[in-house]
Symmetry: none
Subunit: 188 residues, 4 copies
Amino acid sequence: MPKIVDHEAQRELLLDACFRLFAEQGYAAATMRRIAVAAGVSTGTLYHYFPDKQAILAALLELLIRRDTARVRHDLPDDAPVPVRIHALFLFYRARAGYLRDLLRIAMEVHRHEPSPESRDQVRDGLRQYRDAMSDVLAVDPLVGAMAFSFILGSLTQGLLDPDAVDLGAQEAFVQEVWARLQAAADG
Amino acid sequence: MPKIVDHEAQRELLLDACFRLFAEQGYAAATMRRIAVAAGVSTGTLYHYFPDKQAILAALLELLIRRDTARVRHDLPDDAPVPVRIHALFLFYRARAGYLRDLLRIAMEVHRHEPSPESRDQVRDGLRQYRDAMSDVLAVDPLVGAMAFSFILGSLTQGLLDPDAVDLGAQEAFVQEVWARLQAAADG
Amino acid sequence: MPKIVDHEAQRELLLDACFRLFAEQGYAAATMRRIAVAAGVSTGTLYHYFPDKQAILAALLELLIRRDTARVRHDLPDDAPVPVRIHALFLFYRARAGYLRDLLRIAMEVHRHEPSPESRDQVRDGLRQYRDAMSDVLAVDPLVGAMAFSFILGSLTQGLLDPDAVDLGAQEAFVQEVWARLQAAADG
Amino acid sequence: MPKIVDHEAQRELLLDACFRLFAEQGYAAATMRRIAVAAGVSTGTLYHYFPDKQAILAALLELLIRRDTARVRHDLPDDAPVPVRIHALFLFYRARAGYLRDLLRIAMEVHRHEPSPESRDQVRDGLRQYRDAMSDVLAVDPLVGAMAFSFILGSLTQGLLDPDAVDLGAQEAFVQEVWARLQAAADG
DNA sequence: TATGAATGAGGCTTCATTCAT
DNA sequence: AATGAATGAAGCCTCATTCAT
């Protein structure tokens, strides 16, 4: 007489607890016991839902990427004047900076600790999806998209290592001004 | 009279071996035993030179930062037309991209695994020294310096997670062209 | 449903094995591996029941003190002529001399090796409970109780370091005679 | 051209440093490195004077026992009325209580950690010398001497484990009174 | 399904001792 | 005689994983 549980829903609940834990303490520091405690289950139960620790990570990344890419394209306007799009991008970024930093941190850690090709491919593909979404939203060619993405990524990294270093408001103003000047020059 | 060993020089030799190991496998995966093997000594000897594993890391970061900041300012021209400086910066970056990625990777990992305030402060201070050196070399104000630094940092991060994503040649061409256009607009 | 184990009972079984080992080889010589072997479990299991080695010691002392103080008051008569009580005390002591020596030895070692205030307080409190029990049994004031206790303690110590030195039969005879003479003098 | 050093004198200097260290931290906690630092020499030098750590302990015990037994008989009167002798004994004890506790502590630790027959015999013989000296000073038969010695030993032990428990002044008063009463009864 | 007891390899660290200088 | 660098076995503890219930 198995207890009736929605297996998928339970997996997502466990993964949410994992994300909070990984974000706070890192994947390496999150022992199976700690995960179990954080999720309110026993260690044995974790192994009912995931074959091992690495699988938790893979499932978590998959879940996050699936959720995020849907949201990115939904939240960002895909046709509008460029300054509006730039503003939307910065808005999106500022609203999620904390989450995005956590995500980047986890991605970096995975790349380190789980050097299986599958894990690395998963991280790389997730990264590309973000990058492509950004290129689409900005409606720029891949080179500029990659550069803008580098800038965002570096901004997250810098904010991670030196929390006071990044002033997004000033940065947006600067970008907008460069754009305006380039437009003026092209038009003039 | 004691066995003749230059304590400082020996420390640096050990740290060099550590850097290679950390870069390859990560700090967490570098066990004291592996470090000892890589350095060609016994584990006990490591503890003759460093009180614990964390101290090795701290000493390594200090050594690298000391070496690097001296080199950055030495290698990059501090008075020259802007396009020349931009080119010099990209040259510097391209020549050391592998090393810089390793360094960033270690810095991120430290930030995760050694959440002692000292470790974090050390990473943050090292980051700032790089950023300041870059601002000086480009002779730009701190805001633009921070943005350029974010771009470099993100480029490294992206190259780390997705090795084929970054084409530094094309990126330099793009930056040079933006600069040229802005100059033309300002002059015109 | 979990594997059925009575956590408390299992702890006591482990502690009993520890006492035997500590008594034989000393606390310092009792490595976690040896303890595990003696108890018939793995080292990991020890850490399932106790957070660290010191905690094993603390739990052991607590268990012994709890058991003993109950037994002391139970085994010794609390109203009877003084010579009877003296005899009962010596009987109690002789029957348990080996155990008491082991206990004292462990207590001394703890005091040395675990100089945390908690450990020392625990030892001191255990000592006081024994002393108070003895004062009660002999029905003497605290000063005489402390002196009698010192005598017993020293007898144990001497027996520990020089096993042939102590003849409890002769000692009891001597004490009884002193008591008789003092009584006779007081009555006469 | 060996440096001119009085080998014996240097040994004693080293042993004095050892005693201080053993008394403070215990024999087990006194690593060869710590001993070397406390004595102001290198670890290598220790091995010039003693073949190994255990030999240090043996030499220390031997030195202390040699010094002490000379001193005990010298400081205590060997003919005088009994109350005077009792008083002298308590004086002696009170003046050296700290030292005697340290000594006892070390003796107990040796007995535990160095269960070689030689070490144990050495401790036992030292103990006997103290006991015999006490019997002589009190001019009592061996049984009473052993009991008095047990009392002193237990008093030291109790003072070690529970520093506030022992009031030597009150104890001496009590002993003197018991003696006086016994005398009165015998004389009357 | 769910629990948590049990495992044992492996991590960091300590330390008595040896030996080149 | 003296130094301190070097060794490596062994200590305590952690943790992913398995399995009886």
